[in-house]
Symmetry: C2
Subunit: 231 residues, 2 copies
């Protein structure tokens, strides 16, 4: 039985981190809300607070990083050792923090106001994000790659993990939303850039990115190209 992914049909958003893991695993899945109907799961005892959530037979799992923990273990996209799994998940949760901050550049006052109603606030928050937060996060990833005892090919150990796929997505997203800031920042993190390229070249990811299953970035998602926020 294929997995069922429930996520907004018109954006990459948080669902994209799950899609990338499913694609890399070669796991059959149905992207339910992209199939034309917005039917929902019957949550029973385990309601999700928000999409994405993933149905695997009778199991329903919510929270992006939690879904990746599940898929990572099941499809060999996480290390087998406890220490390796915890470390991968730690990176994954830090990526989740970065994603919240990226979102908040255009919604510092919360999701219930339109961007147009919080533009001056967005300008202030985005400046800080560009100048201080992006470099700090990227430097952290660069350090992890540099210190990986198995080499700088992947974030954890010698094999691809969900964290690598997610970092690829973050670099893509930041490059879309903040092309100028990212050009400057990327020059200082060659290992991160090389990892992005390495993930993009993986056969299944490459095929996915070319397919119609990959929704283009747009201004409804997390990573939005508002030139004024790029300084």
């Amino acid at each position: 039985m294929p997995y069922e992914l429930y996520y907004w049909p018109s954006i990459q958003g948080r669902g994209e981190f799950v899609r990338l893991a499913l694609e890399e695993a070669g796991a059959p899945y149905v992207d339910i809300w992209r199939e034309g109907s917005m039917r929902d799961v019957d949550f029973g005892e385990h309601p999700s607070f928000a999409p994405p959530y993933l149905k695997d037979g009778k199991k329903i799992i919510g929270q992006t990083a939690n879904i990746l923990l599940y898929l990572g273990e099941k499809h060999g996209l996480h290390p087998k050792s406890e220490a390796g799994r915890l470390w991968t998940h730690q990176i994954q949760l830090t990526i989740a923090d970065l994603v919240v901050e990226a979102h908040d550049t255009h919604h510092p006052l919360g999701g219930d106001f339109y961007y147009e109603d919080q533009k001056p606030e967005s300008l202030r928050r985005a400046k800080l994000f560009r100048e201080s937060r992006i470099p700090k996060f990227l430097d952290w990833f660069e350090t992890i790659l540099a210190r990986n005892p198995k080499g700088d090919g992947f974030l954890v150990g010698a094999r691809v993990s969900t964290a690598d796929l997610s970092l690829f997505q973050v670099v893509e997203g930041l490059s879309y939303a903040f092309p100028k800031a990212m050009k400057r920042a990327a020059a200082k993190v060659p290992r991160v850039v090389a990892l992005r390229d390495r993930v993009a070249a993986r056969p299944r990811i490459k095929a996915y990115l070319k397919s119609e299953r990959r929704i283009p970035f747009n201004e409804d998602g997390i990573f939005r190209r508002y030139p004024e926020l790029d300084g």
Copy 2:
């Protein structure tokens, strides 16, 4: 060898979720930065992006929810089944999302500006948080308790988990920061209120809350009492 917890010494903050788990487990730990020195760990291959982090022998684990995943499994504060563990972690990650939003009520433009420099923005964001987000999150917890097949004594199964301890902390924090809004909201979630009381009455938690190890809430932490933000 006792655990070593590394977290800011003058606030509850995110470290408090870890402290509560350690206290409930009766696990020996040293709250390193409260001991008078700000010595840091030698991270080696596993640098943490930010405190809290926990040292257990040679292991260093970062990200609050990840630390709780580790402690939960080790000290029987998570269910043993895979489904139960994932569900507990899903709740934990949703609590983490709520904590970010609570923090952002006084720092909508980010952590590099003082509250005083983002007060009008805080007023707008806090209104949304009080009127829309607090009720939505609390209602979700209430639903989980109501649907727990083992009864509404705990969030997951029939035993206390890290998620219960963390929900206690969130209710305490919100009640400190938004006493008026929480009084209204609490009236609609009797199971959540009862859980808060149940956790507070647990012998080890009760002793902890009375001890000097419990740092009082204050206006440097996540939950701050700024009356103007309580409407």
